[in-house]
Amino acid sequence: MEEGKALTNIFYVALTGNPNCGKTTVFNALTGLHAKVGNYPGVTVERKEGKLKGTPPDKQIIILDLPGTYSFSPKSLDEQVARDVLFNRIKDIPRLSAVVVIVDAANLQRNLYYATEVIELGYPVIIGLNMMDVAAENGEIVNIEKLSRHLNVPVIPMVASKKEGITALRQAVIEQVSRPAKLIGVIPLFLNLPDYYKPEIENIAKLLRECGNAQVNPYSEAILTISDEKALGERGKNYPEAIYDAVHEARKRIESAGGDWKTDIIGARYEFISDINTDCVTQILNVQETFSDKLDRVLTHRIFGLIIFFLIMLLMFQSIFRLAKLPMDLIASGIGSVNSYVVENMPPGALTSLITDGVIAGVGAVIVFLPQILLLFLFLSLLEDTGYMSRAAFIMDRLMSKVGLHGKSFIPLLSSFACAVPGIMATRTIESNKDRLVTILIAPLMSCSARLPVYAVLISACIPDIKVFGFFKLQGLTLMGAYLFGIILALVMALIFKKTILKGEIPMLLMELPPYKRPTLWTIFRHLWDRFVIFMRQAGTIILGVNIILWFLMSYPKANVETRFNESRVEIINSTLGVSLTADKINDFIEQLKQNTKFTNGVETAETKLLSELKSIDKEEMSEWLSNSFAGRLGRTIEPIIKPLGFDWKIGIGILASFASRETFVSTMAVIYSVESDAQEGSLSTLANAFKEQKRSDGTKLFTPLTGLSLIVFYICALQCAATIVVVGRETRSWKWTTFQWIYLGILAWTLSFLVWNVGRCLGYN
C-alpha cells in the first residue's frame, strides 16, 4: 500500500512545441539545469529529463524536454521523439500527467497548428505563450483570456529568456498534477470538417476504443490514421487489421465524396486557427520592417551576405591567434613557475621527473590552449545564439547542393568545429537517412577544438611569424587554411559518397529563419563554463593518464649507456684540460667545473667550450636512452610507415599516443622533448621552441614548414578520437559504417600527407 502510494507521487510532464519556440529555455528555468539552447530550429535532438524545482515535498514532478516538431507526422528522427512520448510509445516513460505546450506568440498561427493537435489528444494541457516580448516588438497584442477560451485550456504568457511567467507555469503544473488523476479525455475536435467526414471519424474512433489500445483521445487518433499514411503504417503493424481496412474504406468514401483526406484536415485546422488569430491578436503598431528584417537585408544580401560570411570566418580564425596570445602566455608562465617550484623543492629522481616531465609538461602543454578553445566556443556560441546559424545554412545551401547535400547538413558540420560529437548528434534533424549518414561520415573532417592545440603548436613551430598583405598574419592564415582544407575535403568526400555508395534523392529543404535575438550573457557564460569543465576534465583524466603511462614507457627500461657516454666524457675532459680523470669521479668533476666556470659575454674559454661539448654529449645520451625505451622501440617500429610522410619516430610516438584524443599529441611531444632535455630547463612557453630545435639524423631541421603542413594534413584527416567513434557507432547503429569511417579517414590521412611531403620536396620546399 505504502509503496503504491509513493509511486503515484511521481508525475511526468512533457514540454513540447514547435522547434525554436523556447522549450529548453523553459525547461532550464523550471528545473535549474543547463541544457543547450540556441536560436535555430533543432538544437534539442533527444529527450531530456529534469526534476521540477519548488514542488511540495510529497510530490516529485519530472519534466521532459522534447525536440521540437511541426506536427505529428514526423519527417526526421528528432521530430519522432515528441510524437512517441505523447502517444505513450516509449516504455521507460509512464503515462504523462500533463503536457505543457510552448507556443511562440510571435509566430502564433504555425505554433497553434501543433498546439491544437496536442490539445486534441486529451491530456490536461497548459499553454506557455512564450516570446511575448518579440510579439510586442512586432506590434502585436495577444488577448490571453480569449485565446484560453478558444482553446479551452489555461494560457500563461511568458518571456522565458527573462524568466517571466516561470513561477506561474510552475504553479499551474503543480496544480494540474494535484488534481485527481483524470483518464485520457474523449473530447470533441476543434475542426470543422465537411459532413461526410463525421461518420468516418466516429466509426474509426469507435473501433479504436473497442480494440482497447487507444492511448489518446480516439477522435484525434482517428483523424491521424485517416490523414497520415505513415501513422497508419503497414497492414497489421501499428494497428489491428480491422482498423487498417476500415481506414482504407473510409478514405475511399471520402475521396468519392470529393474530399482529399491528405490535406482537408490540415486545411480545416488552419481555418480554425485563422479565426482564433483574427479574434485574439490585435495589431497595434504596423511594423513595416523589424530590426531582424533590417539586419537580414545586409547579412543575407546578394553581395554583402557572402562577403560578411567569409569575413566572419576569417575574423574567427585570426582572432583565435591574436586575442588568445596574452592569456596563453600568462597560463604558460604560471605553469612554468609551478614547474620550477617542484624542481627546486623536491629531491631529484624518478618521482620529480614523473611530476615535471610527465604531469606538468604534458598536461600543461594542453591547458595552455584553453584560451584559444574558449574563444572558438565563444564565436560558435555567438553564431548559434544570435540566429546567424540558419543564415549560414541559407547562404551555403547552394554550395552544399552541389555535393548532393543541403543546407540542413551545414548546421551539424558547423557544430563539428566545436566538437564532432554534438555535430553528429545534430544530424538527427536530417530527413533522409542516406544524407544523414553522409553527413556523419564527413563530420570529423571539420577541424574540432581538440585539433586547435595541434595546429597551433605546429604552426608556431613551423610557419614563420610574418605578415602578408600588410595585415594578415601568415600563421593565422595557415590556421584558416587548415580549416578550409578540412571543409573542402569534406565536400569532396560527400560528393564521392553521394555519387557512389549513398546515392539518393535530396529531400526538400524547408528551414525556418528565426528572428535574430540578442544572446544573454548568462547563456554564453554557461556555454563557455560547460566547455571549460569538459576540457579540464579531459586534461585531468585521459591526457593525464596517457602522459603518466607514456612517461614510464619513455623512462624504462633504463638502457645501460651511461658507461659508454662517460668514457667519451672522460676522454674529452682529459684531452682539453690535460688532467687524468677517471670515470668514477666524473659527476663531481663536472659539477665543480660548472660552478667554477664564469661565463663572460662573448669570450670563449677552454672551459666554456668544454661545457658546451659536454652538453651535446648529454643530449646524445638522452636520445639514445629514449630510443631504447619501450616507447622508443614502439616509435621505431612504426617509423617505416610514417617516414614517407616526413615524420620521425618521436612524432610516431605522438601519433600513437593521440589515437584516442588528438590534443594528446601536444602533451606527448611535450613529454618527449622534456624527458629528453634537462628537466630543469623544461619551460612550457618554449614548447614551440623545443619543436624548432629538433633535428633529423642528417642534422637538418625536423620541423620545416613542409613537415608542419604534412603533419597538419594528417591531423585534419585521421579519426583520432574515441568519443567520435563511440557516438558514430551509437548513431548509425552499425559497426560496419563506423569501421568504414575510421579506415577511410586513415587512408585519406596517410595518402594526403604522403602527397604533401613528397610533392613539396620535389618542388624543392625543404
Binding site: 504555425r110 497548428y113 491528405k262 488552419y270 543575407t300 541559407f394 547562404i395 545551401d397 526538400m508 524547408l510
Partner: protein, 85 residues
C-alpha cells in the same frame, strides 16, 4: 505559365502573392500545408539566397526558406486585397 498562375520563381523580391496550386509530391505538399502554405494563403517573396538558391518567403508572420526546385512548382496569383477596416 499555367492555367493556375505563375510560378513562385517568377516573382520579384518583395512581391506579395497568393498560392493557387502546389504541384509537388504528396509528401512535400503535406509538409508545406502543415507549415501553413495552403492553397489560398498569401505569401511574400523576401529574397533569394546570395547564390540564387533557396528562396526566402514570409508566410503567416514567419520566414521560411524553400529550394528553387520546389518553388518552381508552387503557382501563385495576385493576392485578393483584404479590406481591413
Amino acid at each position: 505559365m499555367t492555367a493556375t498562375g505563375q510560378s513562385l520563381m517568377q516573382m520579384a523580391n518583395g512581391t506579395k502573392c497568393m498560392i493557387a496550386a502546389i504541384d509537388l509530391s504528396s509528401e512535400s505538399r503535406e509538409r508545406l500545408f502543415e507549415l501553413g502554405l495552403l492553397v489560398g494563403t498569401t505569401i511574400e517573396v523576401v529574397r533569394y539566397a546570395p547564390l540564387g538558391d533557396p528562396v526566402e518567403i514570409k508566410v503567416r508572420g514567419y520566414r521560411l526558406m524553400i529550394p528553387r526546385s520546389e518553388a518552381e512548382r508552387i503557382f501563385v496569383v495576385p493576392p485578393i486585397v483584404e479590406n481591413k477596416g
